[in-house]
């Protein structure tokens, strides 16, 4: 799944021992936070402190936690339900470099499990080792996405799957040549027959198999989840403070909402860049100029560099961007504005983001058909 302005779609988001006190506002979901002097650090209270019961479950925090509960199952679409044979075939296709014209690039080249299913580069590398226009997005939790690519030009994972293969600057293999090539690999035939007895080796079957495999790439349980489930020692006091900031003063949840930390919507976050993103498909919607899809934040600490153009090397740099409020222009989201975060608050936010890294375990590279 590469996103490089190349593949075109037709159409075309606590109260802690360190001193954070949580104000539970009666009858409201909102909370106000304040810090008190500890460890030589101090910051002015944002709003009056109302409740600070060290060690007791706080109803306001409990309410916030409720918003982050993980789903119990992976969603698969009705027209492409899960089967084990599809996943097996899709995994082989995903890792097979013969899906590129030069036989050197596979889907996994840009969506490498060793890099949390991205490529660790500021921008993707395509056919002929040429740099692409945008950063390779991770496919982690793509099963839960609404529409795909940084600019949303793919309506489904199935639609997306074939795009990079046939795009000249990416894998550069026309679909008719792909079919011919797969037909020339004898061990692929039985795999397609098992997974798609009616279609056989066909573009739709390839797309469905790859999409089905991608939907199985789901982030594991992270320390944050353990904390949600009652293990108070699973994350640090700084991270707990960061969680509250994330939901309040830092305003992150305006976009990074829910268990996967995304609203699947499009926003201009004020990054200085000529790329208009979603605006290409919605030229008459001012707020969509320079707007890109909100990425989920699971495994985010292992997914640097950041933003659609890979311009920010660290999470600290990302927090600094949002603290400044980015470029003030008509398209900038109304949710983006200077935050006036303290250095400690920035540290706490990064500490919280670090708790979203799970142990996904090693990925077995498949033995490919010959």
């Amino acid at each position: 799944m590469h996103d490089a302005q190349s593949y075109r779609s037709p159409t075309s988001k606590a109260a802690t021992s360190r001193g954070l006190c949580l104000a539970a506002v009666a009858g409201a979901a909102t909370v106000a936070i304040a810090t008190v002097v500890t460890n030589g650090l101090a910051a002015p209270a944002e709003k009056p402190i109302m409740v600070a019961i060290i060690g007791a479950p706080d109803p306001a925090i409990m309410s916030l936690k409720h918003k982050y509960e993980r789903p119990t199952a992976i969603p698969f679409p009705r027209d492409n339900p899960y089967t084990a044979t599809k996943v097996d075939l899709g995994k082989k296709l995903f890792f097979d470099t013969r899906l590129s014209a030069a036989n050197v690039l596979s889907c996994a080249s840009c969506h490498n499990p060793a890099y949390s299913w991205g490529d660790g580069q500021p921008r993707g590398i395509g056919h002929g080792m040429k740099p692409l226009g945008r950063r390779s997005p991770s496919i982690v939790n793509a099963a839960y996405g609404e529409i795909f690519m940084w600019d949303g030009r793919a309506a489904s994972l199935e639609e997306q799957a074939l795009g990079p293969i046939k795009t000249d600057v990416e894998m550069n293999l026309p679909i008719d040549q792909l079919i011919e090539r797969l037909n020339g690999i004898p061990e692929y035939g039985p795999l397609f027959q098992a997974a798609f007895p009616r279609e056989g080796i066909a573009p739709e079957a390839i797309a469905k198999a790859i999409a089905t495999y991608e939907r199985t790439v789901v982030s594991g349980r992270a320390p944050f989840d353990a904390w949600l489930n009652g293990n108070d020692k699973a994350i640090s006091a700084s991270a707990k403070n960061g969680f509250v900031l994330f939901n309040t003063k830092a305003h992150c949840t305006a976009c990074h909402s829910g268990w996967n930390f995304t609203d699947d919507s499009f926003h201009d976050v004020g990054l200085s860049d000529e790329d208009i993103g979603r605006g290409k498909f919605l030229p008459d919607v001012p707020k969509m100029q320079h707007a890109f899809k909100t990425p989920g934040l699971r495994e985010i600490a292992r997914r640097s560099p950041y933003m659609h153009n890979g311009s920010l090397p660290t999470l600290k740099a990302v927090v600094d961007l949002y603290d400044r409020g980015g470029v003030d222009r008509p398209s900038r989201s109304d949710d983006i504005k200077p935050l006036n975060l303290t250095d400690q608050e920035k540290t706490d936010l990064v500490a919280f983001l670090n708790t979203l890294t799970s142990d996904m375990g090693p990925t077995t590279i498949p033995i490919l058909p010959r």
């Binding site: 159409t11 309506a155 699947d264 919507s265 499009f266 919605l282």
Partner: protein, 107 residues
Amino acid sequence: MKAIIAALVAGCICGGVVAAFAAEQTLSQKGKAFSQNAMTVKKGDTLVFQNDDDVVHNVMSSAPGSEFNLGAQQPGSKVSQVFSKSGELLVICAIHPRMKLTLTVVD
């Protein structure tokens, strides 16, 4: 001349009859969701989208033969679309794609 007048009168009456059958339904956009996720309208009906949110929305469909895009819809404003082709189409907000409406247009 009488024939022409008669034809004009008949046309006006027929037009009035058609207009009487063309209905208007209103759908709210609130909490980044449509007030219904599925509904049925008759061909020729007008569907009005009322933005009851405090953010800009959009209404569009990429359904073949029924494509439309109503652009930027400011908070508090209404936009409308007449559906002239029968069938089922998916209507979304292109800014907030979780907003989905499955619309069935019947003859």
